[in-house]
């Protein structure tokens, strides 16, 4: 088996990785004006203009229901490409590009992380580090029932 | 004597455009209104020979302004300036006494011709 390159980043204290082939570019949060989308699920921060295309920005911590405190200086948007669609993911900090052997990636055990294993495609153990490799497809899948009720509830008085 | 025209449109470009066209054809622009309220005031003060009136404007739209002006001066000659698809408004405007209409975007010849026709009536 060959090697894989992961873009790694931090989210609420844990380290995550996305296959570099899925990553289109990385932007600073401060650089862009995000337009809020009313009545969208809570994890949708809004939409931005990416060279003429309108793409959504997803707050990954909220998507994973993690507690996090944003330090806007370090917050980055990772623009990923999934099925010809571009989507931006906000993360607390981008670390590096990590080259590892694909064998190092193991199937995710159930309770490895704070986040739902639905979003995880594997765990990379590399030196002393544990990188949670994300399944982009599942992150971008439609909002679930519970979230619908949550957002709808938000507005009711 | 050149005909006196009041141009009413909330978009400054449209006003400028009309002004350029009409002045080059020897019309005299006696005022520019940016909404219906202004149009009425300017009409009262200047008594132009003809008015070009945009339909969709803030404050008071062209339709309402046209009605008010016709109330004041039943002889008023008002040309509605409309975007595509505003048939319903045009129809109302005609029923209420608008003399003609122009569809945006218009050609220079068209607007001049329409103005001349209305002025001749």
């Amino acid at each position: 088996m060959g090697q894989i390159q992961l873009v790694t980043f931090e989210l609420s204290g844990e380290e995550y990785g996305i296959d570099i082939l899925k990553v289109h570019e990385i932007k600073r949060l401060k650089e862009i004006g995000i337009t809020y989308v009313p009545r969208a699920p809570e994890f949708v921060e809004g939409v931005i203009n990416l060279r003429g295309d309108v793409i959504p920005i997803i707050d990954l911590a909220k998507r994973f229901e993690l507690e996090t405190e944003k330090n806007e200086k370090e917050t980055r948007i990772i623009v990923v490409k999934q099925e010809e669609k571009y989507i931006g993911l906000t993360v607390d900090r981008v670390n590096e590009v990590l080259t590892i052997d694909s064998e190092v990636i193991e199937d995710p055990p159930q309770e490895i992380s704070q986040i739902n294993s639905f979003y995880i495609s594997g765990i990379a153990k590399y030196e002393e580090r544990l990188v949670i490799v994300l399944d982009i497809g599942n992150i971008l899948s439609p909002r679930e029932e519970e979230e619908i009720t949550k957002t709808a509830g938000k507005g009711r008085k | 004597m050149s005909a006196k025209v009041l141009v009413v449109d909330d978009a400054s470009f449209m006003r400028l455009n009309l002004k350029n066209i009409l002045e080059s054809e020897g019309f005299e622009i006696i005022g520019e209104g940016t909404n219906g309220q202004e149009a009425i005031k300017l009409y009262q003060a200047e008594r132009p020979d003809v008015v070009t009136m945009d339909i969709t404007m803030p404050e008071m739209d062209g339709l309402a302004a046209m009605e008010k002006i016709i109330e004041m001066d039943p002889q008023a000659k008002i040309i509605m300036v409309s975007a595509m698809g505003q048939e319903t408004y045009i129809k109302k405007a005609i029923l209420k006494g608008a003399k003609n209409f122009i569809v945006k975007p218009f050609k220079k010849e068209k607007i001049v011709e329409t103005l001349n026709k209305v002025l001749a009536s």
Binding site: P38 | L16, A64, I90, L95, K99, P105
Partner: protein, 676 residues
């Protein structure tokens, strides 16, 4: 012939044959549908004749032989009006199919001797040609202006001292809104006498393909006075006046026919070039970018204006920018225009399809068209073909009853399916309408319950329209038998999904026993529209101008006058109508609303509402960016009522586009109505 030349000729032959076959096929359908028509036969003959010629010179003898016989039978028809019958049309159909087959063989270089045997067809032709036929000539002249003798008599009585005049108008200079021009003319004339009649009856029909109309007036005024009056709106060359005698003698009608023909000729003779559609799409994309930049320039120019009155360079720039704006707008219009195609271009593919389906199902179908020249963005038009095929199949297969059944219910044995298209404000409507059995709501209810699509309780709550709409739910299919006509598994849900992808809607209405109408309502264009920008809680939203009637500023002074409370709901009294008030910040759950701001009065036909926003920024052109990848059921954002897409503002940021119809719908359902 040199090999290379031969290939070149062959290519040309095939190309021409395609065109000739298409015309022939159209002609035979025309003959079958409307009976004999000399012009159609002549054209048919001409095509057969040229195909015969080129096939002969290329050595394709089967094609040459067959076309030769077709020529003979057509010639016979010409010389013996009234001899056309179903056998002949059938034979002509078979011949065209065979010719198509032979043409394929030419393309595949299959040798002549391996062609199918056409001897039996040739013999059938022989039979016809040798039989002497006679019959009555069918009158098939369409007259636009026709008065019954009774009407004429009444007119003469009425005339007395008055003038009865027919004014015929041909709006040759008016580019758009011809119907409104017609309306203006009519409005100016209505005080001059009694308007007896107009042709067409509804002046709204005066558009594009029908840029002419007539007004029959009975007046005390003299002809020249009326002419002067009309000249206030139209040029003298655009209309003609006929006195009553001319109407009686049919001169007026002839004139009408003539201008109609002139018009269609002018249409045909236009010079044209073929352009790869990708190039047009590319052009469109570039124009979109240009429009965005143009808006940016306009914004910059506002700032310059304030800052540098003395700087002559800046002033020069300020003068140039409006011109750029103007050119960008014109360019956009022009490119949009290139993309517009008449719906007739897909309609013409249906007669054959309908004929085939009716043969297969044993149903006798008359297919009608109207509004073929209604234009639609090419991309939308392509996407709409398959759904239309499906609707047509449904109409014939499930809508129209078997001839015997129809007779029993007192209907003509021949069923009618109509394909109608028209423009309705900023939408194009394509309707598939049949006079068949209609949809039985009870059956739908039973079926929907069976399939578990709804509960009894839900059904109770539903109105007729919603019940009919159940047939578009996935998993619903009313067909009792599965056959190859309706396409297994592909149902109305696919139709709806495809149409919704285009930002369109499907509307169903049906009357049990009397037929069904399914309307596809589509946006006129997808790309660029004129919009009003508004602001709420720091965010800008674009509202297409087509949906807006008026904007009203609300402040402390007029608040109580404008906004009232009825049954705990806020309403606005606007032009004698009471319409609901929706506060954007509340609808979008953005927080508490405000007392001052602007009311955007908008909506569609009779369903109006007022939306309260903080500020109105102004009108601008917006390029519509689809959010279709993210917006909607089972997508990332889910369904968000009130948002239809996005656009990019002059400063490069995104603004969402408000969907007035969506807000209204959501309000109508009551789910999001704001109780106060």
């Amino acid at each position: 012939m040199e090999k290379i030349d031969f290939e070149k000729f062959k290519k040309l032959f095939l190309q021409e044959a395609d065109e000739q076959l298409e015309v022939m096929e159209k002609a035979v359908m025309e003959l079958e549908e409307n009976g004999e028509n000399r012009k159609v036969i002549d054209e048919f003959f001409r095509m057969a004749h040229s195909l015969k010629g080129s096939a002969g010179s290329m050595g394709y003898s089967a094609i040459a032989d067959l076309t030769h016989q077709m020529e003979n039978v057509l010639d016979k028809l010409r010389n013996n009006p009234g001899s056309l019958n179903d056998d002949i049309t059938d034979l002509l159909f078979i011949s065209i199919d065979t010719l198509k087959h032979l043409r394929e063989n030419v393309e595949k270089d299959i040798p002549e001797e391996e062609n199918p045997d056409i001897q039996h067809i040739l013999e059938r032709f022989q039979d016809f040609i040798s039989i002497e036929t006679d019959g009555k000539k069918k009158a098939n002249v369409e007259k636009k202006i026709q008065l019954t003798s009774q009407e004429l008599k009444n007119l003469k009585e009425k005339a007395g001292e008055n003038n009865v005049l027919l004014l015929c108008f041909e709006l040759i200079q008016q580019q758009e809104m011809q119907s409104m021009m017609a309306f203006l003319v009519l409005n100016n004339l209505k005080d001059e006498g009694e308007i007896v009649k107009t042709f067409p009856h509804h002046l709204e029909e005066v558009e594009g393909d029908l840029p002419y109309f007539s007004i029959l007036i009975c007046t005390e005024k003299k002809e020249e006075d009326l002419v002067k009056l009309v000249e206030q709106t139209l040029d003298r060359e655009e209309f003609k006046v006929f006195p009553l005698e001319d109407i009686e003698q049919g001169k007026a009608s002839d004139y009408f026919q003539e201008i109609k023909e002139n018009f269609s000729r002018r249409d045909e003779s236009r010079d044209s070039i073929r352009v790869d559609i990708e190039k047009v799409d590319q052009l469109m994309k570039l124009v979109g970018e240009l429009v965005i930049d143009k808006e940016r320039l306009l914004e910059i120019s506002k700032n310059i204006k304030a800052n540098s009155r003395e700087n002559s360079e800046a002033q020069a720039l300020l003068q140039t920018i409006p011109h750029v704006d103007f050119i960008a707008t014109e360019l956009h219009e022009s490119v949009m225009d290139i993309r517009m195609y008449p719906v007739g271009s897909i309609f013409k593919r249906f007669p054959r399809l309908v004929r085939d389906i009716s043969k297969q199902t044993g149903k006798d179908i008359h297919l009608e068209f109207s509004g073929e020249d209604t234009e639609l963005d090419r991309t939308i038009l392509q996407e709409v073909f398959d759904p239309l095929v499906h609707l047509l199949r449904n109409a014939i297969d499930h809508g129209i009853e078997a001839p015997s059944q129809r007779e029993k219910s007192g209907k003509p044995s021949r069923g009618t399916v109509a394909l109608n298209a028209w423009q309705e404000e900023n939408n194009i409507v394509i309707e598939v309408k049949d006079d068949g059995a209609g949809i039985d709501p009870e059956k739908i209810k039973t079926r929907a319950l069976e399939k578990g699509l709804v509960t009894e309780a839900q059904l109770e709550e539903m109105d007729q329209e919603s019940i009919l709409e159940l047939i578009m739910e996935p998993g619903f299919s009313t067909s009792e038998t599965v056959n190859d006509l309706s396409g297994r598994g592909v149902g109305m849900d696919v139709v709806r999904t495809n149409i919704e992808k285009l930002d369109g809607e499907v509307e169903i209405s049906s009357e049990k026993g009397n037929g069904t109408s399914i309307k596809i309502v589509l946006p006129l264009t997808l790309a660029i529209v004129q919009a009003l920008m508004v602001r709420e809680k720091g965010n800008d939203y674009a509202i297409p101008l087509s949906a807006i009637f008026e904007t009203i500023a609300v402040n402390g002074q007029n608040y109580k006058e404008v906004i009232k409370t009825v049954k705990n709901r806020e309403v606005v009294v606007w032009r004698d109508q009471v319409i609901p008030l929706i506060r954007l910040s509340e609808f979008f759950l953005l927080g508490d609303s405000h007392q001052e701001g602007f009311l955007i009065i908008g909506g569609v036909k009779g369903r109006m509402m007022a939306i309260m926003v903080e500020a109105v920024i102004g009108e601008q052109e917006i390029v519509i960016k689809s959010l279709g990848d993210f917006l909607g059921k089972d997508k990332l954002f889910g369904e968000i009522p009130g948002i239809s897409g996005a656009t990019i503002k002059g400063n490069g940021e995104v603004a969402l586009i408000l969907d007035i119809q969506g807000i209204l719908k959501s309000f109508k359902k009551g789910g999001e109505a704001i109780e106060r």
